[in-house]
Amino acid sequence: MISLRDLTVRYGDTVAVDGITLDLEPNKIYGLLGRNGSGKTSLLSVLASYRRPCAGTVTIDGVDPFENAALMRATAFVRDSLDVTDQDRIAKVLDFAGRLRPTWDAGYAEHLADVFELDRRRRVSALSRGQRSSLGVVLGLAARAPLTILDEVYLGMDAGARAAFYRELLADYLAHPRTIILSTHLIEEVAGLFEQVIVIDRGRLLLHEDTDTFRARGVAVTGPAAAVEAFAAGRTVLGEQSLGGVRQVTLYGALADHEAEAARTAGLTLAPVGVQDLFVHLTAVGDTARTEALR
């Protein structure tokens, strides 16, 4: 179990992570969502022992992972910038990881390199943005680390490479269950992989729940403007749109059976909201009051 308690990361006067408390059960795939600058990478850096928190604690099974040889060895953190030497060839990068990581699966690394069509003789500096990301995926997955953290590793990947990434990630996770944290902006594409969703906004935890529960929290209600307004009264409205006399509101919070029935009776249409839409509504810029209400 990974436990964060009042975790805070500051850079001078800037608070990147603001008192986050969170528990992550092992062997699940987590989606870490947040807008640019919301503190995702800072949070992940602390989890991976890349930096110390300014305040608060991180423990993995009750132990502080910072400078703990066993726990750091059991963690793979792949950043979008890749922590490799640009002048090295891909073969050397993979060989280096294999020498240092006890859980490294060289055969799987070769397989992934084939899947992403990475030429082992090419230098990292000669790779395109998407190929660098593919190399990051190879390093992250072939490490088979019990805690695998992938921070926006899809950058620059084309649709085919991204699809291969999702396919390989899921297949390898099913074969070798472990805790995987994926930070991404391509929410709708990856949402199917997440077992739990963590949303942070302006350094603070907005919500953390099962993906299914998260999906159920949003419902789009469409119908005559007056009926929609009457139904939405007293509920948390994440967004609204109007076209002529028709109005659509996105409500936050699951509807009970009798509420859903009442809506249908009133001539309203209920529809699920995508994870990405829900995320966009929850983290909309300039609506601090709404996000504060959700915390």
């Binding site: 930096r51 110390r52 040889a69 910038s81 922590d83 030497t85």
Partner: protein, 231 residues
């Protein structure tokens, strides 16, 4: 294998081809240089001692500078703690410093052998012997360690504290090199002499300052945040 030995062996593996190129370059440069000098005049100095004796320690200084910016994140990203990285750096650094310090008297002996094969040794050529070989080794080793520690500490200062912090630490970080250059210098014939202090005191001062700066390096790096890209 322990993590620190793993770091040390991998660092040695990384720098093995670089060091090989360095020594090949030294041998070629000194070989060509000494051939030219010998044809023009009787050499009164050892070109090997002048060039390789100095370059060996400078090379270690450069490696020290590269260690943090180039390799720290590379090892941490593969699950190595900072502590084990620093211990591995110390082991690898000591091994390389000893090997480089050995290469200087060995090269000097080889140079003398080649000169003697070409004819009688020039009268004022600084001949080598077991005693002088030991003295050369004893001069190069503390100087090489001083340069390595200095380079690593300077780059660690900039890595951790940024430009101004790195500059502020610079005067402290260069102390071992200042001591090594001042107390264990090279004379105009490429020979090693002692100045101001007897050898044992000079070596002790240099090694003590190197230890202090190495401690500063450890303090800078023991909980440093891992930056993106080369710093």
């Amino acid at each position: 294998m322990s993590p620190r030995l793993l770091v040390a062996t991998n660092l040695l593996r990384i720098y093995r081809p670089v060091a090989a190129w360095f020594w090949v370059t030294m041998i070629v440069c000194v070989g060509v240089g000494m051939t030219v000098v010998s044809r023009v005049t009787d050499p009164t100095f050892s070109l090997w001692l002048v060039i390789a004796g100095a370059a060996a320690k400078y090379w270690l200084g450069v490696v020290g500078i590269l260690l943090v910016g180039l390799h720290l994140r590379q090892f941490v990203a593969n699950g190595v703690t900072r502590h084990d990285f620093l211990a591995g750096v110390a082991i690898a650094g000591l091994v390389v410093a000893v090997l480089f310090a050995l290469a200087v008297p060995l090269g000097h002996a080889a140079e003398q052998l080649l000169l003697s094969l070409a004819g009688p040794l020039p009268e004022r050529y600084p001949t080598t012997s077991p005693g002088t070989a030991l003295r050369e080794f004893g001069h190069v080793l503390p100087a090489a360690l001083a340069f390595l520690a200095c380079g690593a500490t300077i780059s660690a200062g900039f890595y951790r504290f940024g430009a101004w912090g790195g500059l502020a630490l610079l005067p402290v970080a260069v102390l071992p090199v200042v001591a090594a250059e001042a107390l264990l210098g090279v004379d105009e014939h490429g020979g090693f002499d002692v100045r101001f202090l007897p050898y044992s005191a000079a070596a002790l001062v240099t090694l003590a300052l190197t230890a202090v700066v190495a401690l500063l390096f450890h303090r800078e790096m023991r909980d440093v945040a891992i930056r993106r890209g080369a710093a």
